[in-house]
């Protein structure tokens, strides 16, 4: 009786349901990084980066990610040469050392991925008045995480239900709060040429890959976090057994 009350009290404190947002629940996606043993699939993250680079990057920045991060283990794990080549493919703003004038130079691995627009006003002006948000943290900034992003990207072909008004420049997407999203349908089948021909070139696959990639950009230390966690819990578990035994031994002659 008492125990169940206590358990119920704790359960209700610990489980915090997501706030109702009026949007449909994102469908479940099997990600390699789900669960306590899950890890990122570097090949999938590389494909996801390709989708970001060829599609999303036209409008969305990724400001917290540097080129060097793309070479990280526990991430896309591009080789050093690939990272250098990737970075060199971008021009980044610089100051001329001689004249002090604004100029550009080739990107270095230490540079962050350049944003598509110079500032928010330019981003707004080019996109019907609503600036495309930065994607670095998007997978953590929405309930549903990566599967929310997957749901948004694949959610464009639903018929508009009765009673929903889609204004000019808006698009119906049931997974977006309110149902109307400013972003037009970004992906279509066959749009991105994957090097590996065995991977399907479908919107669903692109959405899975880019959402996995964005989960990594949002939580780049996930693999080391889980690894350290296992070590910590194994150690603490063993320690707690020893401490329990010593506690019992200290108290062995005391009635309590």
């Amino acid at each position: 009786m008492r125990k169940s009350i206590i358990a119920a009290a704790f359960a209700s404190l610990a489980i915090l349901p997501a706030a109702a947002s009026g949007a449909e629940e994102p469908p479940h996606v099997d990600y390699s990084f789900a669960g306590v043993f899950g890890t990122f699939d570097p090949v999938q993250l590389q494909r996801g980066f390709q989708v970001y680079k060829e599609v999303c990057a036209a409008c969305h920045s990724l400001k917290f990610v540097a080129f060097r991060n793309l070479g990280d283990a526990g991430g896309p794990h591009f080789t050093e040469a690939e990272v250098k080549a990737l970075a060199a493919g971008y021009d980044v703003a610089a100051i001329d050392n001689e004249t002090g004038e604004a100029t550009t130079r080739k990107g270095l691995p230490s540079d962050h991925i350049p944003a598509p627009f110079p500032n928010e006003i330019a981003a707004k002006a080019a996109n019907n008045g609503s600036a495309p948000p930065d994607l670095s943290l998007m997978a953590k900034a929405r309930e549903g995480n990566a599967s929310y992003i997957h749901a948004i990207l694949t959610g464009y072909d639903h018929p508009v239900p009765e009673g929903v008004q889609v204004p000019e420049g808006g698009n119906y997407n049931p997974y977006f709060p309110g149902g109307v999203i400013a972003m037009p349908k970004p992906l279509s089948d066959g749009q991105v040429e994957y090097a590996d021909a065995s991977v399907p070139r479908t919107v669903d696959q692109y959405a899975k890959d880019v959402s996995a990639f964005l989960m990594w950009t949002a939580e780049p230390k996930m693999e080391v976090r889980k690894r350290v966690g296992f070590g910590a819990i194994l150690f603490l578990g063993a320690l707690s057994v020893l401490l329990y035994l010593s506690y019992r031994r200290v108290w062995r002659n005391v009635d309590h």
């Binding site: 008492r2 915090l16 349901p17 953590k140 230390k221 966690g229 819990i233 707690s240 005391v254 009635d255």
Partner: protein, 444 residues
Amino acid sequence: MASGHSNYTPSNGLTRWLDERLPIIRFANDNLLSFPTPKNLNYWYTFGAILFYCLVIQIVTGIVLAMHFVPNSALAFSSVEYIMRDVNYGWMLRYMHMNGASFFFIAVYVHMSRGLYYGSYKAPREILWILGVIIYLLMMATGFLGYTLPWSQMSLWGANVITNLLGAVLGQDFTQWLWGGFSVDNPTLQRFFSLHYLLPFVILGVSVLHVWALHHVGNNNPTGIDPKGPQDTVPLMPYYTAKYYFVITLFTIAFAVFVFFAPNLLGHADHYVEGNPLKTPTHIAPEWFLGAFYAMLRAIDFNLILDSKILGVLVMLGAIGILFIVPWLDTSRVRSANYRPVYWWCFWIFCADFAMLSWVGLQPAGTVLVQMGVAADGSPTGLNVTHLAQIGTLYYFAFFLVIMPLLGLFETPRTLPESIAQSVLKRGGAGTPAGAAAAPETRI
């Protein structure tokens, strides 16, 4: 019973010399080693030690985080991401600090509930209890200030909501003084950072007074009756320190599960959206540990003499303020709920009530739980979270203002044991206590 129990004898010339000038070793010996502690304390009594451990975790991780954090409205959010990505083990420090706050509050709620259950606030422990309530208040303030520092959407708008609440009672001039301007902006962040760094040390100071008060009057215990002699107590070291090491390790395991495997479970997704003063989020939620008070604030959606907004703030502040006078609201002379059959029920209902309020406070206002009809505009009507908040608030105040004073007059308590030693032996403890003379002739 606890004061003046000193059994410390300096063992050599140097310690004798020191003892006559600054008896610091004696102080440590009397308070940390030989302090006589009732031998029947159960696991609920370990949360004081756990709380001290939480405070140390928060201070240590916080000091290192402050080395990397930039308290500037344009840079704060990026600097948190810099900690998460580029500082060595910065992600671990931040997740420990973030979840450490939640675990601090879990522990403090257990600790306070234990006090309420075993009547630990009753004479002579009123000051001990009041110092605890002050620590709790300081913790809430510190937790709120920390919530604002990442300068996320939740930070910015949470800061707006709370400061405007204070403004509703204290006036616009006060709010502007608090903000350092005409809105929540960079000056607000900088002063909140400064105060967030200051308050934990104030908590540490009040905790020292709290422990001083505890060690002056001695621990309460599950029977609620005072120890009658050395047969009822054991020295803190090694008996309770051994227990603390074990329990703190268990607590750390639970903490590690959150830090390493569900670090964002207790937080809100909007914490990862950079603060934007031009864009109000659809739903502003406080941290879960402030949810109950936020629920009570929102429960007052009607005017009663005062405007509902001011009344709501007063109810919320009253809910915390009432804790200060608990020692004088409870009229029962029996401390422990183990011997108070009616209070036992009222106490557990109170715990469930507080848990419910904490949950309600995080739900969007007006969320319908049981639909009973449809309003003219097509939205559902029926039992909504505000109704739950109102019922919960009513019980919260009734528990303190009606149940506590009246139960002492009407409740018939169970028979108390003669002594701690007797209650221990009755429970079936076998063997002879080391160094304690049991009194088998008084057994019932």
